[in-house]
Symmetry: none
């Protein structure tokens, strides 16, 4: 039931934490681990802390960028405790579990955890549809990486028990756009906004971040994405005719 | 609210785990730690893993027996994953949190965690009123000590209903657009789509319904609405220049 969910660790510094995460996942029946540019991996420290979950470690996929790690995912959730100037739609681990298992069962999901000291960068958060925030002490809010993963996986596992009691129909829905398709849309959008003169290529960062924040919230399906890209093509067409 | 609850660790072998427990507790606003015959304590390993929760460590009380540790408690809950021949009344962390905070608020409570390898002995379980069992993978059920404490403290914290005061991204949040503003946006969008040649005025019903379905999902704020309308104006501008 949790097999379509992967845990993605970005830029982990301490290999022991990677091992502890593998253990935390397996304790909750989760096995898909993806590591983005880990500082040290594989490592004896990771294997030792995995403590019997070394099968999760040995099957872990290592990527060089987060884009690559989430390319096939329909829902990308970023865990972060850092304050952001731009507000992201944020959810608790319990809401997150409910969202994934009850409202969108079977979807390919990535839950992304940032670096031990600095979390996720803004350009990484740009790839996330939701920000997951673990309720905690406001004066001491930095959880150990494996502890954070443990809480999230625990909520997912508990929700599988709830899910088996609730069966929500889901037929006839369009498949959600994948992260890769959404990225192509953003590239096309940026191009069109330059074409129509709304945005200078050099000053596109803030505006594109704001637009990502809008469209990431929607979770577009493939049909909707086709419509939006059709609109972009037409607006570019007019410009090119000029 | 959680100040009448203490976490009791019995016979902990690895001092690093004691430090990680202190951190897990403090992350959830809990500070009362009691150690029954720890193998090594105090220890540099414990302090290092506590990572800023060393105040919890320095205030930890060390006892030689569990009887002594729970002597002043009205409710004693033992955490254990081991199978028992005698069945104990067992509760989940969520039930436990509810029991403590909703049904018996203000009572002096101990939540007791056993040794890393062998858990609690039967004579220690005899002192417990309930057995706490964390839902997990039946084929790989041994959680790291600090991970188990983290889940239990997290459930307690969530049950206090105290929303963490970190206001992620709440800075500079814009008021949501009103229904009237959204309707003006749709009128403007329809006009622009006709202008750029994407849509015939006569055949706009279905496409506008689909677009409403997209943008209604987002709950746009006023700033975001301004950006989208700016884009519409620019795409119209190009058309009008034709």
């Amino acid at each position: 039931m949790l097999s379509t969910i992967k845990i993605v660790l970005v830029g982990t510094t301490h290999p022991g934490n990677i091992g502890a995460v593998a253990r935390a996942m397996k304790n909750m029946t989760m096995t898909n681990l993806c590591l983005v540019s880990p500082k040290i991996f594989p490592s004896a420290d990771a294997t030792s802390r995995a403590s019997g979950a070394d099968d999760v470690l040995s099957r872990a996929i290592v990527c060089s960028t987060l884009e690559e790690a989430v390319d096939d995912c329909e829902l990308v959730i970023g865990a972060s405790a850092r304050c952001r100037t731009i507000s992201w739609p944020d959810i608790t681990p319990r809401d997150c579990a409910e969202k994934i298992l009850i409202h969108e069962p079977g979807r390919k999901v990535a839950i992304v955890f940032g670096r031990e000291n600095s979390g996720l960068m803004n350009n990484e958060l740009d790839l996330c549809h939701f920000l997951l925030r673990i309720p905690c002490n406001s004066e001491y809010s930095s959880l150990n990486l494996a502890a954070a993963v443990q809480i999230v996986c625990y909520e997912l596992f508990v929700a599988t028990g709830v899910k088996s009691e609730i069966q929500i129909g889901d037929k006839g829905q369009q498949p959600l756009a994948t992260a890769g398709q959404i990225e192509s849309f953003y590239a096309h959008l940026a191009e069109a906004l330059v074409d129509i003169g709304f945005m200078h290529p050099d000053k596109s960062k803030t505006i594109m971040r704001r637009l990502r924040r809008i469209y990431n919230r929607i979770q577009l399906d493939t049909k909707e994405l086709d419509i939006l890209r059709g609109i972009l093509r037409m607006s570019q067409g007019n410009k090119r005719k000029n």
